[in-house]
């Protein structure tokens, strides 16, 4: 068991800097998810922790020991890859035991550890099969098994579920969650899927262009996004943004207005806005509602597109006074395209971001 700490970690490929000074502290037993769009450097960061990529500058500590120049095998890590990376010519048993074979562990010891891993992952019946006889989910299970037998202090997962179909992904997600509870090891998990991030993580690290945007618990990121990027990235459908003008800033309240929006007073934790400055108003689609009285409501427009998902209805609204907004209404609501609609929101649940 170990904590992992990155301080001012940087990585350059030639003249291109892809990781630009990252500080992350991961405590022992934590499940941390690195999330971000493609090319944000999350996989590179994970590979640097694994030791597959050099660290250009900064320090990486695992269990209080600086491991920048330590070989991957001596870092106490195990890694699970997106493409499973299991050996097609070996049986499941041999695959799971691969690390032990390399380390020259005795036959009995190997047998015991493989059976233990197989029991944890409930794949005892698969041990004598060949990878070609396994489904995608089973292959990933083998790869996880290979990681478990190493008995690592830190598990690294590089988008382990991306090659699986939706139903399997959900099963495996739960399995990984269970595994974390069972083993209590530190786990670092890279994904671009925010559902995986939200459901699995104790702590999410949002990355963009090699820079950490925010680190926090899933709900902290959801309710208190630090910036526009995090606000837009976390949550589905993503948050609506509206350009607003600050009319008045006093005490812990800010009054804003936009062409499509009548003046509304919002609560802010920290007063950083000046009157007549520009800002962005963020409204989560889930927090928009249709008022009982259509003449009320703060936003008015016509329905442009309706997606009925059963549990919710996603409506794309063309606002009368310019702009578009997406609302996710929490019930199945048949709406006609082109019909008039009024939307309302609770100012307490709106977010305000200063113009960058």
């Amino acid at each position: 068991m170990a904590d992992v700490s990155l301080s001012q970690v940087r990585k350059s490929f030639g003249s291109a800097e892809v990781i630009k000074g990252v500080d992350i502290d991961i405590s022992d037993g934590e499940f941390v998810v690195f999330v971000g769009p493609s090319g944000c450097g999350k996989s590179t960061l994970l590979r640097m922790i694994a030791g597959l990529e050099d660290i250009t500058s900064g320090t990486l500590e695992i269990d209080g020991r600086v491991v920048n120049d330590v070989q991957p095998k001596d870092r106490g890590i195990a890694m699970v890859f997106q493409t499973y990376a299991i050996f097609p010519h070996m049986s499941v048993r041999e695959n799971v035991a691969f690390g032990l074979t390399i380390a020259g562990v005795s036959r009995d010891e190997k047998e015991r550890k493989v059976n233990e891993a197989a029991r944890i992952l409930q794949m005892e019946h698969l041990l004598d099969r060949r990878p070609s006889q396994l489904s995608g989910g089973q292959r990933q299970r083998v790869a996880i098994g290979r990681a478990i037998v190493r008995d690592p202090a830190v598990f690294l997962f590089d988008e382990p579920l991306s090659n699986l179909d939706a139903a399997l992904r959900m099963d495996m997600r739960m399995e990984i969650g269970k595994l974390h509870n069972q083993l209590g090891a530190t786990m670092i998990y890279v994904t671009h899927d925010q559902v995986e991030a939200m459901t699995l993580a104790d702590k999410i690290v949002v990355l963009r262009d090699g820079v950490v945007q925010q680190i926090g618990a899933p709900m902290e990121l959801y309710h208190k996004p630090a910036n526009l990027f995090v606000a837009g990235f976390i949550g589905s459908p993503s948050m609506n943004f509206m350009d607003v003008e600050v009319l008045e800033a006093a005490g812990d309240g800010v009054t804003v207005k936009a062409p499509a929006l009548d003046p509304v007073k919002l609560h802010v934790d920290e007063q950083t806005y000046a009157a007549h400055s520009k800002a962005k108003l963020g409204l989560r689609p889930q927090y928009l509602s249709v008022p009982d009285d259509a003449s009320k409501g703060t936003l008015h427009g016509t329905v442009a597109l309706v997606e009925r998902l059963g549990t919710e209805t996603v409506v794309n609204v063309e606002l009368t006074r310019g702009g578009r907004i997406v609302a996710a209404l929490s019930e199945d609501k048949p709406l006609d395209i082109g019909s008039e609609i009024a939307l309302d929101f609770d100012p307490a649940k709106a977010h305000l971001f200063a113009e960058p």
Binding site: K73, F81, A85, I102
Partner: protein, 356 residues
Amino acid sequence: MASKLTTSNAAGWAFALPGFGLICLFIVVPFFLAFALSLTNQRLISPNPTEYVGFANYKSLLSLAVITLEPERDEDGEIVRDEDGTPEYPRVRTITRNPDFPEYRGMREWFRWHSGDNARVVVASDVVFMKALVNTLTFALVIAPGQGGLALLLALLINQRLRGINIFRTIYFMPVVVSIVVVSLLWRFIYDGNDGLLNNLLSGLTFGLFEPIDWLGRTDTALGSIIAMSIWQAVGFHMVIWLAGLQTISPTLYEVAQIEGASKWQTFRYVTWPGLRNTAVLVLIVITMQAFALFAQIDVMTNGGPLDSTQTLVFQAVERGYGKQDISGGSTISVVLFLIVLTISLVQRYLTRERS
């Protein structure tokens, strides 16, 4: 069921005809003709009509026998010995030309060994063919692992990201694109006994201690010289095939090995080599085929000499069919060669089959 192919595709067949016709004329017909001619006494040009002779050609080609010779004894029953003390034996021709032993007629000594005081002499009706057979097998046995292994080694070396690696790839591949006849002529100069490059090089490296050798003019070095030169000439081709195989191995598998702390040898043993299975089968079979077809080097460099020490099956087939105008004899050798290569290919395929 009549398919469209057989009923109404005259145009398609017409397009296929030229190629198909040429294949028939130059490959299929000669193949069966060789079988047919090997059962006759056909000559290239002869006033006599061709006759069916059954398996007489095969008999005169393949007949082998072992004759036990007892040492000559004097009146007292003592073994007659020469000055060195080695026993003297009656000449083999006293048996092969003896009307009492018609089964040995026309046979000549191939080689002999001693058991006790007796000498056992292997006689063959076609000693040149036997030498050609042994030379060809030796050539194939040395060249298959030698060339295949060296090609793999080169492929591993050039399968790296290094500056200027393409220069090495080009250098190693260059001999392949040069005609084998030209290469053979050049190597005749290299191997020259008086002022050859190799002799000069060796005497230069040993400060004149090295006695020049007529590499192609000695029975003990001629075949070895041709083997060395043949390996050099075609190694680049097989290197490219290995390289193609190497690049199909997923880089993630190497990363797994790296994380597990596999040594270079373990990585090769568990990742690279199993990933090259199919390539290995291909390379092995292609090299074996090419080895059995050895002709041009012999024809240009040694003409089968000295003392038949570089005779090969294909060289003999051509020599007999066209040099001696004995078409049926040449055909017989071709058929024997075909059967040998077929057997070896089947055995190789069986030994390297996918075990599941």
